[in-house]
């Protein structure tokens, strides 16, 4: 597997810009599911400062729980950019309503704090990782665990086909989203320079 080129994209811009302070490039990457979301907070392309999974599988007060969970992260880190994965709406899914509600609440909380999210698709993530030979979620998570050594102990075991996805995988999905966001920014920066 050749991870050199992809690694260069994130590590090439690892220096903090002292003119603008250490936290000006803070990015929150969110992978929202029907009953939980994974998050990763970046201070620089190569520096993840916080990560985790927040569950909100509470039937009675789902809306309030989502708002509380995301509100805490938004207030604590005050990110300059938020990147969220846009999932295709699957009308057959039983959890579709839950996911829509979670996304609605998260968007509302962001709007209340004056931050506009950037939406990325799964295709964008695949487009970034596939050319380097990382096709499956586990392959992507493994390479990310190598780049961000603080996350390596959270890398889930490769799941068997009959097993459901591991709880931790959503963290790596969020980190992948952040990496793709920085790569996109990098590409648009280079394009504007030319």
């Amino acid at each position: 597997m050749d991870d050199g080129a992809a690694k260069h994209v994130i590590h090439g811009r690892g220096e903090t810009d002292n003119r603008s302070g250490p936290f000006v490039s803070r990015v929150l990457a969110l992978e929202v599911r029907a009953s939980k979301f994974g998050f990763a907070v970046f201070d620089e392309p190569a520096k993840v400062i916080d990560w985790g999974v927040r569950a909100f599988d509470v039937r009675a007060s789902r809306e309030a729980t989502v708002a509380k969970r995301i509100g805490f992260i938004l207030d604590q880190y005050a990110p300059f950019h938020i990147v969220v994965l846009r999932r295709r709406n699957d009308p057959k899914s039983k959890r579709n309503g839950d996911l829509s509600l979670a996304l609605k609440v998260i968007s509302r909380e962001m709007q209340a704090r004056g931050v506009k999210p950037t939406w990325l698709t799964t295709q964008a993530v695949k487009r970034f990782f596939c050319p380097h030979g990382f096709k499956t979620k586990h392959e992507i998570a493994t390479v990310l665990a190598g780049w961000f050594e603080e996350l390596s102990w959270r890398l889930p075991l490769r799941r068997k086909p009959w097993q459901s996805e591991r709880h931790n995988m959503v963290i790596f999905d969020a980190v992948a989203l952040g990496v793709v966001f920085f790569a996109t920014q990098d590409a648009s920066l280079k394009a504007s320079e030319h």
Binding site: G21, P22, F23, V48, I49, D50, W51, G52, D75, Q76, Y77, A78, R113, E149, E150, W153
Partner: protein, 114 residues
């Protein structure tokens, strides 16, 4: 809301180590996790001994763990130093105490250049 923004990497270091707030609290001699949580959320600044404890545990310097706190102290002290230098510069270069004023100004100039 902005005043609660976390400006330190304490949580990052703790999570990297896989330690819970309670475990870190125990390592530092606290009975519970409350103090660690307040430090992580930048609600309160750690005492010097606690900050040194963090440095020992994570093998990272205090400015690396608390960059915003360090930057804020640095800004304030630099501003006071500049004010002191200006005040010293306006004093007469003659009479008693001229030597010590000159020494202070030389030290400040040298400090700036390093």
């Amino acid at each position: 809301m902005r005043n609660q923004v976390s400006g330190n990497y304490l949580r990052m270091h703790r999570k990297k180590a896989g330690l819970s707030q309670r475990e870190l609290g125990l390592l530092l001699g606290y009975g519970d996790k409350g103090q660690i949580s307040r430090h992580e959320r930048s609600r309160t600044a750690p005492r010097l001994l606690t900050a040194l404890g963090y440095e020992v545990i994570f093998k990272a310097s205090i400015p690396e763990i608390f960059p915003e706190l360090h930057a804020s102290v640095s800004r304030e002290v630099e501003a006071r130093l500049a004010a002191m230098e200006e005040a010293l510069g306006q004093r007469s270069g003659r009479g008693r105490g001229a030597n010590i004023v000159a020494q202070k100004l030389i030290w400040m100039m040298e400090r700036r250049s390093t």
